[in-house]
Amino acid sequence: MTAKRILMGNEAIAFGAMKAGLQVASGYPGTPSTEVMETIASHASKYGIYAEWATNEKVALETAVGAAYSGANTLVTMKQVGLNVASDPLMSLSYIGVKGSLVILVSDDPGPHSSQTEQDTRAFGHFSNIPVLDPSTPQEAYDMAKLAFKLSHEMEIPVILRTTTRVSHGCADVVTEDIEQAGRDIEGYVKEPRWTIFPKLTAQRHPWLEDLQIRISDRFSDLFSENTFNSISKGNSKIGIASSGVSSLYTNEATNKQSGTFSHFKLATVHPFPEKAALEFLNDITDLIVIEELDPYLEEQFLQLIGRYHLDVNVYGKKNGHFPVSGEYDVDVVIEGVNSSLQAMNAEIPLLTHSTPVVARENIPALPVRPPTFCAGCMHRTVFYAFKKAAAKLKKENGKGTVFSGDIGCYTLGNAQPLNMVDTCLCMGAGISMAAGLSHTQQYQDGNYAKQVAFIGDSTFFHSGIAAMISAVYNNADITLAVLDNRTTAMTGHQPHPGIGLTAMGNPTKAIDIAEVLRSCGVDLVETIEADDLGECIETAKMAIEYEGPSAVVFKGKCVGITKATGQYVIDEEKCTGCNFCVSQLGCPAIFSMSSGVPQIQDNCTGCSLCAQVCPSDAITLREVLQ
């Protein structure tokens, strides 16, 4: 039985995987990949699947590998940056291969909307010799999830299912099939030398891996006649367009008024590049326009092929400046790029046209900007403000400055004005290691430069903070760690982590105490306090910074995204002196001030009381207690 329903691309992937017989799934949350595991976890018991959030992507991949070596159908989920963390096992795994099946879901983020990089996972497939599938719609994501499991099983190699934001986080009507209870029968782990990587084994397996690339490339060429992911449509000119992923849809829409003009090579099985099918396509073409987000992956593949076979085909893409090399594409970007290409080839074809808006973007009058910032009532604001105050006091007392190293999560937004409390931010866990590195510089050792403070969230602490802290302690780094423990993985949508005491499937489990971990890492001063009393937070922060040697404070609070407001504050117009302290110091989105009159507090106030605590005139009071 099939059913049509609205699914987010990530949900569609989860259903495709479950339909394909998924048995074990592991992942680490990361936008835009998170909902794949969330969907699986919520259906896992029903279909006899095991699903978990791992502490990081490397652990997630290795967990799935173990299960796959036993013959299970397995899935790992992560975002593109997470694949960097998992790259160590990945590079070795491609040599060894798998039994059962192993699909690696990696979501790329052109734009980028919520990532540190715009990296292209197709390039990672190329680097690691692992096949990459690149769906363009939620329906293709569903269908290709099934294909990925099938290919992985047949070829005994992991397969990367790569999506981009618009596929992962777009919703569409998707036709899905009934899912049977996954078979629990697996062969089980069988001892064989092939599962232990060793130089001799690597040498033996490398030719197999290279040969496999050719076999899969041929298989992908065959897929042009077998299904709709890969397709070739013929146009009435000698101009061809090649595209993959969601760019294929933008291409269709951009060219739909002249759809008969261009031949279109739409590719979803992007790596290994299906050379045979591409060669056939190039037969009737004199000019090729390549339309793809992120890296010029397809463009390079075509250029190689054209060079190797001495074909007389001109290629227009990123490399000769017709398309942007960064940022997200859309229909308008594609129209610009195609027109630029058409002009360069002096084609006697009318240029593509944009729709005319009622107001052009450049004619919109100035509007208030809304940089992302901490939610109203977020505990992080209190902690950052406390450290700001503590650092100012210390500066006054002994002249020493403070450097604040941030990390990846909601609290990266500590960089926003007016807090301005993130001096460094690189990748997950790096705040601690960078603070340690900064502390070992000569300037610092002379004792007159700055104290080092690192901020990290609870989930990130487990992800990659622990090893960094151990290294810092072992190497005598004089740093202070502030753990912002809001009892959830907030930025990606509130997933549980080892500090919570709940698994991805909702079962109770042992909660790991962050303060205890820090003590056993060798941190001598470890304090745990609630992050609601600003004065206490300032005192504790100051004490921790002043402590000689590694120190840590675990600030406990609750994410306002998953808790109810406790009340709303209001500003007493009589008492308010108009100092604007509440606005200028905190940057709380619930408080605003007009040029005249007293500041006002909006509906989104959650009653955290921070503004009342900083108000020098006691003009801010609790208005009502919400039911």
């Binding site: 609205i6 936008t31 835009p32 909307h113 919520s114 719609t137 329906q139 618009r166 986080h169 777009g170 919703c171 569409a172 009507d173 969601v246 849809l249 933008y250 269709n252 829409e253 859309d330 229909v331 308008d332 129209i335 944009h354 729709s355 005319t356 808006p357 009622v358 107001v359 052009a360 973007r361 919109i364 009058p365 100035a366 509007l367 208030p368 900007v369 809304r370 940089p371 992302p372 910032t373 901490f374 939610c375 109203a376 909601c410 990266t412 937004l413 004005q417 930025m491 990606t492 949508g493 606005v583 200028s584 905190l586 940057g587 989105p589 408080i591 605003f592 001030s593 509906d603 989104n604």
Partner: protein, 209 residues
């Protein structure tokens, strides 16, 4: 058939939920649908948009500039920020209730009335109501998004009618909030009917007295 809707607002206003409701209603009405939503970092009090594309063809989820049939602006400045998506004879449903950014962003003074005037000047079919106030009267300001969808359906600006929209809401809104949302929905329909037919508005005013 092709119908493109852009929903704009501020993180936390329920933009994503509004787009899911529209997308589900579109499927129930037998159309293909594709949405693009803002999830993650930008949601933290930042500007958010959802694109909802309803129609026969499968196409990309991002609406090209000048293509939207309807903009639903949960906040005046956010509607204006996205007006370049609106096509020549498109419509706007906009919430008069402004969400004013914290002054720390160094913004010049934001005067929502001027923004509404700008919208009305550029789009004849602009429906502007303080939907937040209306939702508050129904029970919670959070239902403003539902009230705005009801207004769009009530004003015949969607490819499905208010009943079809409500049947989706009934399925998707948790039971404990259902009555409240129904109230906001109905109050909004009534309000829009008044705007469309000023005579009825006068009658209501008379009744109010």
């Amino acid at each position: 058939m092709k119908f493109d809707i852009l929903i704009a607002g501020v993180g936390g206003q329920g933009v994503v939920l509004a787009s899911r409701l529209l997308a589900t209603a579109a499927i129930d009405a037998g159309y293909h649908v594709a949405t693009a939503e803002t999830i993650g970092m930008a949601q933290r009090e930042g500007s958010v948009t959802s694109h909802v594309r309803i129609g026969d063809e499968v196409c990309g989820s991002l609406i090209p500039a000048g293509n939207a049939d309807l903009i639903i602006g949960l906040e005046p400045a956010e509607a204006a920020r996205n007006i370049h998506f609106l096509k020549k004879d498109g419509s706007i449903v906009v919430n008069e209730h402004a969400v004013i950014p914290s002054a720390s962003a160094n913004n010049a003074e934001y005067i929502p009335e001027q923004v509404i005037e700008f919208l009305k000047k550029n789009c004849q079919e602009t429906i502007n109501v303080d939907f937040t106030q209306l939702a508050k009267e129904a029970g919670t300001y959070r239902a403003a998004n539902v009230a705005m969808l009801a207004a769009a359906a009530g004003a015949d600006l969607l490819p499905f009618n208010p009943d079809e929209l409500w049947s989706v809401l009934e399925k998707m809104v948790p039971e404990k909030y259902r009555e409240l949302n129904r109230k906001a929905f109905d109050m909004s329909l009534e309000k829009v009917a008044c705007i469309k037919d000023p005579e009825q508005q006068e009658q209501v005013q008379v009744m109010d007295i």
